[in-house]
Symmetry: C2
Subunit: 111 residues, 2 copies
DNA sequence: TCTACATATGTTGACCTTCTACACATCTTG
DNA sequence: CAAGATGTGTAGAAGGTCAACATATGTAGA
């Protein structure tokens, strides 16, 4: 396994979480797994980033949480997107495209 | 002017600066102007971000600086890319593409 | 049986980057 | 004469991510 040092672009984590939750209710651990799978192992969310982010998003009213039981029969907190969260996700996606596009412009710039 | 709240993706600034300097020697103020122009006003580097970044990059040996005179006849510090800086830029560009690609995968993910 | 790993949530403190706001200096334009 | 562009820089606050730790259970393999 190549040593992956991927400081997950700051500010991007929230958007990724909102996007995963938008696909359907999931618990925290599942979110980190799905991000890793979908991104083909490139993006790996650490617990020390994940849980603070989830609490942050919940406080801001973008996510709602309920305790339930995971596939494996363990207690897990399931998150779902609120209406505000949906709007926020749309905003952040637009913003990401603008920023990523702008960065691309600079990288492709030739004298 | 639309209120642009663009927290320049963290960690990206260094790469952008290296890229601009790679196009030829420039002074700090000029770097911020070029980034803004090339990105079509989307990316705007604040002085409070710019100068600390330049000092950081110089300390790490990625940039070299010399005092000179600007177009307008003012004293300005001109930066150029070192060999180490060139390698670093290549690394960061690869990394950016990997990350941006991975984020794209997640954003395009459908259930 | 014992060990390691996967599953699951959470906190702490350090580290780094960016931002706002300030300070200074000069030249040009209205 | 005032404002804005040009040019460099610092201080302190704010915020996010990380490594490391703590806890708990189930399961697979040696």
């Amino acid at each position: 396994m190549p040593i992956e040092r991927s400081d997950l672009l700051q500010g991007t984590l929230d958007m990724l979480i909102l996007k995963i939750v938008a696909l359907g209710p999931v618990h925290g651990y599942g979110i980190s797994q799905r991000i890793r799978q979908i991104s083909k192992e490139v993006l790996q969310v650490q617990q020390g980033s994940l849980y603070p982010a989830l609490h942050r998003l919940e406080k801001r009213g973008w996510l709602e949480a309920d305790w339930g039981e995971s596939d494996k029969g363990r207690p897990a907190k399931f998150y779902k997107l609120s209406a505000k969260g949906r709007k926020q996700l749309a905003t952040e996606q637009l913003n990401w495209r603008r920023l990523a596009g702008a960065v691309g412009l600079v990288l492709r710039a030739a004298e």
